[in-house]
Symmetry: C2
Subunit: 548 residues, 2 copies
Amino acid sequence: MRTVKAPRGNALTCKSWQTEAAMRMLMNNLDPEVARDPANLIVYGGTGKAARNWECFDKIVETLKKLESDETLLVQSGKPVAVFKTSEWSPRVLIANSLLVPKWANWEYFRELEERGLIMFGQMTAGSWIYIGTQGILQGTYETFYAVAQKYFEGTLKGKFVLTAGLGEMGGAQPLAVTMNDGIILAVEVDKRMIDRRLKTGYLDTWTDDLEEALRLIDEARKAQKPLSIGLLANAAEVHPKLVESGIIPDVVTDQTAAHDPLNGYIPKGLTVEQAAELRRNNPQEYLDRVYDSVCEHVEAILNMKKLGAKVFEYGNNIRRLAYDHGVRNAFEIPGYVPEYIRDLFAQGKGPFRWVALSGDPEDIYATDQKVLELFPRDEHLRKWIEMAREKIHWQGLPARICWLGQGERTAMGLAMNEMVKSGKLKAPIVIGRDHHDTGSVASPYRETEAMKDGSDAIADWPILNALLNTASGATWVSVHHGGGVGIGYSIHAGMVIVADGTELARKKLERVLTNDSGIGVIRHLDAGYEIAKKTAIDQHLNYPMMK
Amino acid sequence: MRTVKAPRGNALTCKSWQTEAAMRMLMNNLDPEVARDPANLIVYGGTGKAARNWECFDKIVETLKKLESDETLLVQSGKPVAVFKTSEWSPRVLIANSLLVPKWANWEYFRELEERGLIMFGQMTAGSWIYIGTQGILQGTYETFYAVAQKYFEGTLKGKFVLTAGLGEMGGAQPLAVTMNDGIILAVEVDKRMIDRRLKTGYLDTWTDDLEEALRLIDEARKAQKPLSIGLLANAAEVHPKLVESGIIPDVVTDQTAAHDPLNGYIPKGLTVEQAAELRRNNPQEYLDRVYDSVCEHVEAILNMKKLGAKVFEYGNNIRRLAYDHGVRNAFEIPGYVPEYIRDLFAQGKGPFRWVALSGDPEDIYATDQKVLELFPRDEHLRKWIEMAREKIHWQGLPARICWLGQGERTAMGLAMNEMVKSGKLKAPIVIGRDHHDTGSVASPYRETEAMKDGSDAIADWPILNALLNTASGATWVSVHHGGGVGIGYSIHAGMVIVADGTELARKKLERVLTNDSGIGVIRHLDAGYEIAKKTAIDQHLNYPMMK
Ligand SMILES: NC(=O)c1ccc[n+]([C@@H]2O[C@H](COP(=O)([O-])OP(=O)(O)OC[C@H]3O[C@@H](n4cnc5c(N)ncnc54)[C@H](O)[C@@H]3O)[C@@H](O)[C@H]2O)c1
Ligand SMILES: NC(=O)c1ccc[n+]([C@@H]2O[C@H](COP(=O)([O-])OP(=O)(O)OC[C@H]3O[C@@H](n4cnc5c(N)ncnc54)[C@H](O)[C@@H]3O)[C@@H](O)[C@H]2O)c1
């Protein structure tokens, strides 16, 4: 098998850092430490790929090595299709992945075209060369619980009791994300191996299989106002209704069982993991029927907790839809996590901003961590994140940092990093980018744009404007994709990456791109009627011509 | 009612010619001479609008008047939503109209959003401010018949017999388009008023209501090898089968009855126009049943003519589908006009290129006409078009010229016009643009990308790459739209406009934009396997990294 790894250090193999950065980041996406299935060029998220095939990969690399600083490479669904003369202000690479004329935008047709070698699924950061591994999950979850605290608990989960279920790949970040917000969390998980994994990596403090004991521990932590995470080996469909019966109502309730995939991701009550595996194999229909019953009880318990005052939300696992389809007609009274918690961050231009050290040296990231603390000394929340990230996060591929900065902050940080490169404080240039799951870059009515205030959930003008604007502002590469996160037919989104190479031109571009990229997001939310976006726009001097 | 007319002359009301041009072209789109329903901001093509409402229109104008040469205005479905600092290489306006996440991309949902004031239908050149009236129809038809001649008749329709039906708004261009190609045309039309209109404007040479006489005239013209157009007052569903019976087989057969709208656009046989109107009113179902019968006989006759050697094609009126749905199972053996004739033009980078004189002075357009003849002295076909256009075309709003130039030619013409502005040979700058119905700017599986060689009809990466590339190359305004031509759900397409203001910067931008914009079109066709595109790419030194 072929192994790809980005070059490290500050020697150029391309003609500029702009093209060097694109090449290294493409390679880094396929680094075995980073990619899920590098042999098939798959990075993450189902079949999200970095290039259409190895021939295309090689040709992209070869083209980037020759590309001049006033030329632009075009990539169509992972295939390099053209080089044109543009200008030094232009992106070096323009990417369009997985886009289909709407009437044909479904998985069946997409797979047909894929089999004929004509298209590629780009997910979000896979086909746009800025995936940085699992850091994103931890911070996303941390930010969500922080937003819960901000919205309902005066900024802290101190002394608050959070109930959830599922300690899998993503769900496993919940205990740490809550304790980092000073809260107490009970995570119900039916699989002991999952509990053990989280204990071993320090994501979870303790565990028990006795609900009474768990409640006692929670009570103590509450009184002491101390953070604590407890794994409870049990089934949520049994525990949740029991809590309601006993009148024990958590402050916050969510869920990360993999209910989006009922046959493989949800264990019905009354079965061990082993028994569940057997029934699934021998009688999938009976398995599913049991899942539906359990999910309904589970969701009804959550609805009851809501009625009794708990703050509840769905965390993108589609459990509402499943319960709704099997009889819980009011399942959608549980709000989605984006409208409830992330929307307000997006409205302030906050989102999964990130950067990568092209040197390959972790010291470069530590130096930027230090810079974050220097630039935003009063941001306690940010300090916590940076400290925790240093302690907990293992490098995958090129060292990187994710950091949810908002309007204005991203610009300040980008300019500071460019200055650090210029003055030699960093060993090589820095690549700055973000997820497509960001403030102004995505239209996705079942996730990022669910329940917009003005009903504009499905309008896709915004991600396209975002991509055009970043192209006009000096980004190093820009991408537009379809179907990321929620699948073909359900989203349109755009990516942006820019290189801080220490030059004056990079300074000008960074100032514009990092202001405009999230700026259009703030304005998208202001236009939809969000007050906090309006306030941000005014504070940050954004120009919205129709301002009343 | 409010009347909008663009300023003329060479005095600026904005801060630069780039913004002045955008403002004048927006206003020109709403000029009563140009727009179909200016009171409702509707320009053409159903409800294709130039701005969302009058408040938005005023705010766009106000914003353009203040806009600096390193700022960019963003327009979301006809509403001005932001101004950002970019660079002097960037477009002054970026536009996204009517875009929806695919799963929600249908007319019903679109109309709902439109009623709530959240979206606007932009058609192609309506919402992107480069509509120039009905010139386009005549040249499009002229080019189609020219392509027929090129493909099957050694470059000329001399002595060839073309059969069609329908002399309506678009169809009325057919007689002149054929005689301009030196051919003979019989146009069957059931409405005498339509025939009279075409006679009066010189689009049609003569008429008769006697098929025998028409055939005699055709015979004479054939022998004399003289161009001739004849209107035959009759119904195509009666004439066509009769011709087949008599063994009279035309060389070329097409159709422009408005069969896409069976109730209003097609008259069943046996009825006069007045009788048809009455039946339509009193018994629409019987009307439709009669239409289906007539259309089937009409299409079967065309299929028979094909079997007997005629070159037949559908001209975008969906008559194949109608016949297919009512029993003619082989209706799709009639090819569409794009794969048959326009595809090869697109593959050479040819398409509806156009320019507009901001001075408002027709002399400026005559001077550019002269320049076309000078630059391409051996192109007989082009000379004919320019001469005919001068003679036949009435100005609508600002004087304009449409001219299907190809890869390389567009660049040469753009640079020449910039030089003419610089040297004072023109009274004011020139706006250069094109329809979205062009070589590399549209994905539309029922029209522009029907039956692509590699099956990539529905892949929409290309129009997005086109828009990003034009933004990166220095276009003055760039747009991305959804649903133009064929309706919501069925197409994604991009527009480009650039101003030749005589400056050195404009020269550099024109060189890049006019080369790259059609260049990506040539490459899109090369990538799909068209040999003529490969040849064009090689001749024009386009860079396709995967070239074998
Ligand atoms: N919107 C987002 O961006 C977002 C973010 C994170 C997670 N999610 C969703 O959250 C879900 C979890 O993701 P994951 O990667 O952690 O899944 P996973 O399959 O790795 O883990 C699911 C866990 O739930 C446990 N479980 C299943 N049924 C249970 C029950 N009845 N009681 C207790 N535990 C039970 C399983 O044993 C497993 O450990 C998925 O549906 C995912 O799509 C969405
Ligand atoms: N693909 C394209 O870009 C493209 C270009 C041009 C036209 N079209 C299509 O061509 C069609 C014609 O367009 P238009 O604007 O000229 O329509 P129109 O309604 O103005 O004219 C149609 C004409 O056909 C005549 N007619 C109807 N039934 C007839 C019959 N049975 N026999 C003889 N004459 C008959 C009517 O009297 C009328 O004059 C439309 O369907 C249009 O969508 C498509």
